[in-house]
């Protein structure tokens, strides 16, 4: 059985007299444990499709079978239940609650479980999810005490804590640098290895090549749908890590020998100058 099955999905936005056909008939099936990347130019309907897949929105026409059940015509609160129990979301801008610890952020979806869990069960599930994403030692940190990559890991832990059938990620690496993006993709690949179905929107081809299936949208239609053997992000990180360090070393040496930088390369590791430290403190 397919995990996801879309038949003739359309989505039309109406703003006053204007009609925008964001999706114009999407047919798509996704099987268990697939890792699908969705690409396409800006405005092609990627986010619209993700919102529909994520039951945040309902299609104007078509059928959407999720885990065998038709969800296209469900009501608002029934969709909320599906989101809570079957789906996990990861967003480009993390969407962590401010001034709330990583653990409590991860606990959030479980508070909305229909079958009420005990606080102990909720805590344990949250710790477990944070362990999976490698943040077992950062549970009590606030979002502003975490790096971008760590924030996205917390967000992934939050998506995993409900043990969803499908993980939906809309440009999960959009706000991260290349290195951190690779680490997130590595994490996603490992989750996929363990059998989680993953759909990810990205507009970076370097990211898409880690998915085993790439769908390209254009003007609200699927233009191509190809399977390939994915690269492993882990291998890339290992190789690339050395490259970067070598390149950085070289650049610094060259700069000092030309007299552009007074201090020796070691100064890079020096603590931040005092004024900057204060500025960062008050900037929070």
């Amino acid at each position: 059985m397919h995990v996801l099955q879309l038949e003739g999905i359309e989505r039309t936005y109406r703003t006053g007299a204007l009609e925008v056909k964001a999706l114009r008939g999407i047919d798509l099936t996704v099987d268990e444990a697939e890792f699908v990347a969705i690409m396409g130019p800006s405005g092609s309907g990627k986010s619209t499709l993700m919102n529909l897949l994520g039951c945040l929105d309902s299609p104007s026409a078509g059928r959407y079978l999720l885990d065998g059940g038709d969800v296209a015509r469900l009501k608002r609160d029934e969709l909320a239940r599906i989101r809570n129990e079957i789906l996990g979301f990861v967003f480009q801008s993390f969407h962590l609650l401010p001034r709330t610890t990583a653990r409590e952020n991860v606990e959030l979806p479980l508070l909305y479980r229909e079958s009420q869990l005990s606080w102990k069960e909720i805590r344990e599930a949250a710790s477990e999810a944070l362990d999976i994403v490698g943040l077992g030692d950062r549970m009590e940190h606030m979002p502003n005490e975490l790096s971008g990559g760590q924030k996205q890991r917390v967000a992934i832990a939050r998506a995993l804590v409900t043990q969803p059938r499908v993980l939906l990620a809309d440009e999960p690496t959009g706000n991260l640098d290349t290195r951190t993006s690779l680490e997130i993709i590595d994490l996603i690949q490992r989750l996929n290895d363990d059998g989680l179905t993953i759909l990810m929107v990205t507009h970076e081809p370097e990211i898409a090549r880690y998915a085993e299936r790439v769908i390209i949208l254009r003007d609200g239609l699927i233009r191509s749908d190809r399977r390939r053997t994915p690269e492993r992000a882990r291998e890339r990180i290992e190789a690339w890590g050395d490259d970067v360090e070598d390149a950085l070393d070289e650049a610094l040496q060259e700069a000092t020998s030309h007299g552009d930088i007074d201090a020796p390369p070691a100064s890079v590791a020096d603590p931040v100058p005092e004024e900057v430290g204060i500025e960062q403190e008050t900037g929070r």
Binding site: R76, D77, L110, Y112
Partner: protein, 405 residues
């Protein structure tokens, strides 16, 4: 949503913006404190009224000249001249139930002693007036029937007069002057305290009514006749007999209205209590308005909060919150905010009541009732004014909410 998580996340959200929470709660604190203080002072005033009416004396009736409407009471302010000294004497002599009857005449005069003077009300009364009022002397004696008969130039003074004219020294045997008329002080009244309207009851001088009518006031008619009846059971009988006697003496035809009004102590008490209740309500409603304004403050802040936290709401919806969950979360938040204000208001109200009561020398009540009502009202304010913002939050579209900057 998990039930115990609702108040937990509400408190967390409120703590995230401590300063704003405190300032908002202040609106409610002031409102609740005002309600509690006003109700407390009002009830205190009511109790004081009752107490004073009791101090009026036992089994007392007041007869006012003219037809008076219930509620139009202002003791001693009769306009009509229908009651005479002879009426008072006749009441005492012809009605067995009447123990004492004092025709009262009052005038406001300057009293002089040496180089000091004091403006005070001077009451002309009968010799049994203090018996009617149940008012003991502190020293000296009350004038007697003989003094009344001869219109003696004697006076019994209240504590305030002793303080103001004699600077606390023993005034008995001293002579004071009223418009040149020398009056010998023969007695000092025991202290009585503040009256219903906040005037000092000890500020007065009592002289025989004969002296009062003839030498001091220049009036010929009684402003009030103070009557004491033998016992409580005979009140009604006495009242009927007094009415008949006065009608007969005034020569009223059967179809004519009474030209006097009889009020028992009970009726006076009733009117006074009613008045103080109206006052309490009035004060409480004014205080209630400030609670209402506090509630609008809550609504305002909750609306801002919902707007600020649109992304949070979007996220909660995305991970499975249903509309009622979001509604409940914001509603509980504003209720907790109001309850905090309620508790703060009770504390502030308590201190305000005590302070004002001490300062004004007025009894005040800090009633449990007012407290329960205040907390109930503030919770209701929380629900009422928190509902619209919470409802707005619960209707947000998750996609739009998540996208908001």
């Amino acid at each position: 949503m998990k039930l115990s998580a609702v108040p937990y996340s509400a408190i967390k959200a409120l703590r995230r913006n401590t300063m704003r929470t405190i300032l908002t709660a202040f609106g409610i604190i002031i409102g609740v404190a005002a309600v509690i203080t006003m109700v407390g002072l009002g009830q205190g005033a009511g109790a004081e009224v009752e107490e004073q009416v009791n101090r009026l004396g036992q089994n007392v009736m007041l007869i006012f000249p003219g037809e008076r409407q219930l509620g139009g009471v202002s003791i001693g302010g009769g306009s009509a001249n229908t009651l005479t000294v002879e009426d008072a004497i006749a009441l005492r002599e012809e009605i067995p139930e009447v123990v004492a009857a004092s025709p009262e005449v009052r005038s406001q005069r300057v009293v002089v002693y040496g180089n000091r003077n004091w403006h005070t009300p001077i009451y002309g009364q009968s010799a049994d007036y203090l018996q009617i009022r149940d008012w003991p002397l502190e020293s000296g004696r009350m004038f007697d029937e003989e003094d009344v008969g001869r219109a003696s130039l004697v006076a019994v003074v209240g504590q305030t007069v002793v303080q103001e004219l004699f600077e606390g020294a023993d005034p008995i045997g001293e002579t004071v002057r009223v418009r040149g008329l020398p009056l010998e002080v023969i007695g000092v009244l025991s202290p009585k305290g503040m009256s219903l309207m906040g005037s000092v009851q000890d500020d007065l001088m009592i002289i025989p009514y004969t002296t009062g009518f003839q030498r001091v006031s220049g009036r010929s008619h009684a402003m009030v006749i103070n009557v004491q009846v033998y016992s409580e059971e005979t009140m009604d009988v006495a009242r009927a007999k007094i009415t008949d006697l006065l009608r007969e003496r005034h020569g009223l035809a059967p179809d004519q209205e009474n030209d006097f009004t009889i009020q028992t102590q009970e009726e006076v008490a009733q009117i006074a209590t009613e008045t103080s209740r109206v006052m309490t309500w009035l004060l409480a409603s004014i205080a209630g308005i400030s609670l209402f304004v506090g509630g609008i403050g809550i609504m305002n802040v909750m609306l801002v909060s919902v707007t600020e936290r649109t992304r949070e709401v979007g996220l909660r919806l995305a991970v499975g919150a249903r509309s009622p969950d979001v509604l409940m979360q914001f509603l509980i938040e504003s209720v907790i905010l109001c309850l905090l204000g309620g508790i703060g208001g009770i504390l502030l109200g308590y201190f305000a009541t005590e302070t004002i009561a001490n300062y004004a020398g007025w009894p005040a009540f800090f009633s449990l009732e007012a407290m329960v009502v205040a907390v109930g009202v503030s919770a209701a304010v929380g629900v009422f004014f928190g509902f619209y913002p919470a409802w707005k939050a619960s209707r947000l579209d998750p996609i739009m909410a998540l996208r908001q900057e």
